[in-house]
């Protein structure tokens, strides 16, 4: 049993039992413990169900490019590559936009406008990923094929990252859709962190003669830097684990290509596509091993993000107090 609360300390056990206190404590404890149990079980199931590929391939799993269910050869490299590249593209687009928007919401906009816009941003975060996928398939894919690809490929086609034909689907498309999906997370958290920067920091900078932008960019943003980094990690964790939107626009081809226009594959997408049709223990377990990799990646990133955000918001409240 966990330690007794301070209020119930002096009464006799029988009296407490009669009032239902002990029963309530026990019942609610069971439910709280269930949460821990579920989490432990989740890690355990992922671990135990990926034993075969761990033993057979070991760390080679991560450096093998071949994904051949027929020959029972499984390498994670194309999927890890696809996941990392799409997430990187997403962050390159989402970070400047998100931070810019959060600066506007926290520093410039009057509270009412800021709150209204934040409300819309919250709604944007609630849009399910399959809807983003739907719009990706019917808007972003044609847009890439007919507008963006010709515009970029003509002048810059000799660069490896823009080389080759475009089918509309591919790393770039997935990255763009992911960027749109993670922007709300960056904005919400960064805005919160920026708002927690004490007033006197801004006022001191302005009093020293800096312009509004200089006080924001050289004083407020550096003060909130760790927290903003936290929001980026959070967004990265989302992008890495995102399944549906990516599956619908990445092209589902387990190949490593330097070109952003080439079709690829991601960890989450291959699980979504092949899990139900995986025949044979090794095939299924290799997919679960990919799930374990995804879990560990997001676990580390989320932990880091939470730490950074907490550190920054506490720094703010500590100074202003």
């Amino acid at each position: 049993m966990p330690s007794a609360g301070p209020v119930t300390g002096s009464r006799s056990f029988l009296a407490k039992l009669r009032d239902g206190d002990e029963i309530a404590r026990l019942v609610t404890f069971v439910f709280a413990a269930t949460v821990v149990l579920i989490t432990v079980l989740l890690v355990y199931e992922l671990w135990i169900n990926s034993t075969l590929p761990r033993h057979k391939f070991g760390l080679h799993f991560f450096v093998t490019q071949v994904w051949d269910p027929v020959m029972d050869e499984f390498g994670a490299l194309p999927f890890v590559y696809g996941t990392l590249v799409t997430s990187a593209v997403a962050l390159m687009i989402a970070v400047p936009l998100g931070i810019g928007a959060s600066i506007f919401l926290a520093e410039l906009a009057p509270p009412r406008i800021s709150d209204t816009l934040q409300f819309f941003i919250d709604l944007l975060a609630a849009v399910p990923s399959v809807i983003y996928g739907l719009l990706g398939v019917f808007i972003v894919v044609p847009l890439i094929r007919t507008v963006i690809y010709p515009a970029i490929n003509k002048p810059l086609g000799s660069l490896p990252i823009f080389k080759g034909p475009s089918y509309g689907v591919g790393f770039l498309t997935a990255g763009i859709v992911l960027a749109i999906m993670v922007i709300p997370y960056i904005i919400s958290v960064s805005r919160e962190v920026l708002l927690s920067v004490p007033r006197d920091q801004r006022e001191a900078a302005l009093a020293l003669g800096s312009t509004r932008w200089e006080s924001t960019w050289k004083v407020v943003v550096p003060f909130a830097r760790t927290g903003i980094m936290g929001s980026i990690f959070l967004a990265l964790a989302r992008a890495l684990g995102e399944t549906m939107a990516v599956t619908m626009v990445i092209g589902n081809t387990p190949k490593i290509a330097a070109s952003l226009f080439a079709p690829g594959y991601s960890i989450a997408a291959v699980i979504a596509n092949e899990f139900t049709e995986a025949t044979g223990e090794l095939y299924t377990q290799s997919l679960i091993a990919l799930g374990l990799v995804l879990f560990l990646l997001t676990f580390v990133l989320n932990g880091l993000a939470r730490l950074l955000i907490v550190v920054t918001t506490q720094k703010g409240s500590g100074v202003s107090a």
Partner: protein, 283 residues
Amino acid sequence: MNARLRWRKLVSNFMLTMTGVCAFVSVAVLFFILGYLLFNGGTSINWAFFTQLPKPVGEVGGGMANAIVGSAKLLLAASLLGVPIGFLGGIYLAEFSGAKVASVVRYAADLLNGVPSIVIGIFAYAMVVQPFKHFSTLAGAFALGLMMIPITLRSTEEFLNGVPRMLREGAMALGASKWKTISTVIVPAAYRGILTAILLALARVAGETAPLLFTAFGNRFWSQGWAQPTASLPVMIFTYAVSPYEDWHRQAWAAGLVLLGLILIINILARTILSRGIAVPRS
């Protein structure tokens, strides 16, 4: 000197305008999505969509009645699993537990919250589908229910902690037991916040697709019961959108509009409940 100052002011104004543009673009995405869905979905939605089963592959027409009912069943069962665990666990954290146990439970909940939904799907597959050797509505609900727990738990705890001390002490001074205090004073005082959290959790899982792919699977007919696979709106949107058929694309838009409308309405409703309720002062 003067020129330099003018330059700095120019830079300042330019950059600040750019941040405004960033904010505008980000919010505009929402209205673009809404507008596009309204246009495409609005023109493809019809009565058959709500009342008919999907037609066989290649035939034009039909609807998604089975997916709408399937989604409703999934959400009902998911709530029955997720809400009690989250709510009662939250009560334990806020009212009974010591700091150490609370931090362990909180940590587990945060971890669960960050798990990618596709991994939740694998877990539900291993726990429910594999032992029964069958895709089922219950397996899908299990996956969605798990995803509801962390949000419900953390919000319940937060809103219970937000109830003013005086209420608590007042009830206890009148001789109420701890449980009596919780059940008749504290929870009622915080119920708006908790209800909001539950609605938001429901809205979040309503659109989840990945965890359903290999748990609830899919079904082109009425589901034969809780132990059988069922269609759901998100999975239907996915299969229809990536299919090569024109008429399926049309129905995917219609389903997208219905799903997004539902989710946004729940979200707005939940936030209105919270903002119009008695403000819960921080103690």
